[in-house]
C-alpha cells in the first residue's frame, strides 16, 4: 500500500468512531498524535487502508476527579498533563513521567492513550500508570470494559484491544497526602530520547523514614512493564536506611528481565535499573523530609 493511496476518516464524535470501527471492512488503524503511527507508516511498517483520525475528538481530552478517581481522557496530551494542577497534587509521578516523554514537540502532539496503545516496553507514562493503579476503559459500539493496566499488555507492541475497540478512558487512584512518587529515566541524552531504563516509584510514608509499602514499576527492562514485587515487599520491613535501600537495589538487579538491543546491553540495563531505583528512593526520602 502506497502512502498516497491511504485514505483517512475523521469521525466527529466518539459514537461515530465506534460505529465505524464496528462496521469497517477496510484494514484500519487509529491515529491520534501520530508521533509513533506516522513514523511507522513512513518506515513502511504500518500501511493500513484507512487511518481513523481521532486527534480532534475533543470529548476524549479531559482530566477530572469524580467518584474518588481521577479520569483522564485518552487524547489528553503530555503537555496537558504537565499543566494540570490536579495531577501535580494527586499524581506527581505521572506528571514527572510526561515531562520525560520526548521534548516539547512530542509532548504537544503525543497523547496518553497513544502511549498506552502503542504498548512500547519503553513508553514513559506506562510505569507511572502502573504505580497509580490505573484502569483502562475499553469501548466498542456495544460493550465497555474496565481492565487493570497489568492485564492490558500481552507483549511488545501488543495489547488485548480488539479490532472494533478503542481506549476511551484512563482511571487512576489519586494519591493521599502521605503518598509521594517519582519517575527516573535513563536515556541516551537528556531530551528527546527513548528510555534505556525507567522506573516509577510511589511510596506510602508514615513517620520519618518509615513507609507503609509502595509500588515500583520498571520500563524498558522486559517484554512489558515489570512490577518489582520483591523490591516492594522489602519497603515496609523497616526504616528506609541506606542499608535497606541498597539491599532493595540489589534485589532489583535480579528482578528485572532486560534484553540487549540497539540502545543498551542487558547487563548495563540491570546495573542501571538497580542504580535508578536506589537514586529514586534517596530522592523520594529527601523530598518527603523537605516537604
Amino acid at each position: 500500500m502506497l502512502v498516497s493511496n491511504i485514505e483517512m476518516f475523521s469521525p466527529s464524535s466518539l459514537s461515530e468512531c465506534l460505529t465505524y470501527l464496528s462496521q469497517s471492512s477496510k484494514k484500519h488503524k487509529l491515529i491520534a498524535g501520530g508521533t509513533d503511527a506516522a513514523v511507522r507508516m513512513k518506515e513502511g511498517k504500518w500501511r493500513p487502508e484507512i487511518w481513523i483520525n481521532i486527534k480532534n475528538l475533543k470529548e476524549l481530552r479531559y482530566i477530572e476527579e469524580k467518584d474518588g478517581c481521577i479520569h483522564i481522557g485518552p487524547l489528553t496530551t503530555h503537555t496537558d498533563i504537565l499543566r494540570s494542577d490536579l495531577l501535580k497534587r494527586k499524581a506527581d509521578v505521572l506528571v514527572e513521567a510526561a515531562r520525560e516523554v520526548g521534548a516539547t514537540q512530542m509532548q504537544n502532539m503525543g497523547t496518553i492513550g497513544g502511549n498506552i496503545g502503542t504498548a512500547s516496553p519503553a513508553g514513559d507514562t506506562i510505569p507511572a500508570l502502573y504505580v497509580l493503579g490505573a484502569l483502562i476503559e475499553i469501548s466498542s459500539l456495544n460493550t465497555k470494559r474496565l481492565v487493570p493496566i497489568e492485564q492490558f499488555f500481552i507483549g511488545p507492541g501488543r495489547t488485548i484491544l480488539r479490532e472494533n475497540e478503542m481506549i476511551t478512558g484512563i482511571l487512576i487512584q489519586p494519591q493521599h497526602p502521605n503518598e509521594i512518587g517519582i519517575f527516573q529515566k535513563l536515556g541516551p541524552r537528556k531530551a528527546q530520547s527513548i528510555s534505556i531504563v525507567n522506573v516509577a516509584i510511589s511510596l506510602k510514608m508514615i513517620e520519618g523514614k518509615h513507609c507503609h509499602g509502595g509500588k515500583i514499576a520498571f520500563g524498558s527492562v522486559g517484554p512489558a512493564i515489570i512490577r518489582a514485587k520483591k523490591c516492594e515487599s522489602l519497603l515496609s520491613q523497616g526504616p528506609l536506611t541506606e542499608e535497606l535501600i541498597q539491599n532493595i537495589a540489589k534485589v532489583a538487579w535480579k528482578e528485572v528481565l532486560p534484553i540487549t538491543d540497539g540502545r543498551a546491553t542487558a547487563l548495563y540495563r540491570r546495573d542501571m535499573a538497580s542504580a535508578l531505583l536506589e537514586r529514586g528512593l534517596y530522592r523520594l526520602l529527601r523530598r518527603w523530609e523537605n516537604r
Binding site: I6, E7, M8, G34, T35, V39, T79, Q105, M109, Q192
Partner: protein, 163 residues
C-alpha cells in the same frame, strides 16, 4: 485525494492532496513554503517544527488530513525580511546560525517558548524548551544567547514609554 483547508500564516488555503501526505510536504510542495526542513523525518530533530494552533509540533509526522481546519504558523509566518521578528533579529545579531538547516525550526520553537513567558529565561529553561531541536554545526551557546537577547528585546518593548 482529499480536499483540506489550512490556515497558514494567516492565509486560508484549500489544497487537494493524499490525506496521509505529511503536513511538511504540503507546506513545501503545495504551498512553496520551504523554510521548514525535512531532516530526520521522524520527529526527532525538530527542523520541521511549525506551530499548530500555537503549539510547536513536528510537521513531518503530522498527516495532512489531521491538519485539516487547523491554524499553522511556519518560520515565514514568524517574520520575513524586512519585517523580521525580534527572535530572528537576535539570531542574526548573535551569529546563531551556521549551515542554517535547523534554524527555521529553532526560530519557531523559540517563538512559541517566548510567547508563553514574560521574563528573561535562564539557560536551563531555554535548553528544555529547545530540547527537541538539534543543531549539528555551531553548538548551542549562540542559539541560547540569541533567545535571551530576543527575550530582553521583547521585554524592553513592553515597558511603558517614560515622559
Amino acid at each position: 485525494m482529499k480536499t483540506i483547508q489550512l490556515k497558514v500564516n494567516g492565509a486560508v488555503h484549500s489544497i487537494s492532496c493524499p490525506p496521509a501526505k505529511s503536513l511538511l510536504d504540503v507546506l513545501r510542495e503545495d504551498l512553496g513554503l520551504t523554510a521548514s526542513k525535512e531532516c530526520c523525518g521522524k520527529g526527532e530533530c525538530g527542523s520541521c517544527t511549525v506551530l499548530i494552533n500555537d503549539e510547536a509540533a513536528c510537521s513531518c509526522i503530522v498527516l495532512a488530513g489531521q491538519a485539516d481546519g487547523q491554524e499553522i504558523i511556519t518560520c515565514e509566518g514568524v517574520g520575513l525580511n524586512p519585517n523580521l521578528d525580534a527572535i530572528q533579529e537576535s539570531f542574526i545579531e548573535e551569529g546563531a546560525t551556521q549551515c542554517g538547516y535547523c534554524t527555521p525550526g529553532i526560530i519557531v520553537s523559540a517563538k512559541a517558548f517566548l510567547n508563553g513567558i514574560d521574563h528573561i529565561p535562564a539557560v536551563d529553561e531555554i535548553k528544555t524548551a529547545l530540547g527537541g531541536n538539534l543543531c549539528r554545526c555551531t553548538g548551542y551557546t549562540k542559539i541560547i544567547k540569541a533567545v535571551q537577547t530576543a527575550a530582553s528585546r521583547n521585554s524592553s518593548e513592553k515597558e511603558p514609554v517614560k515622559g
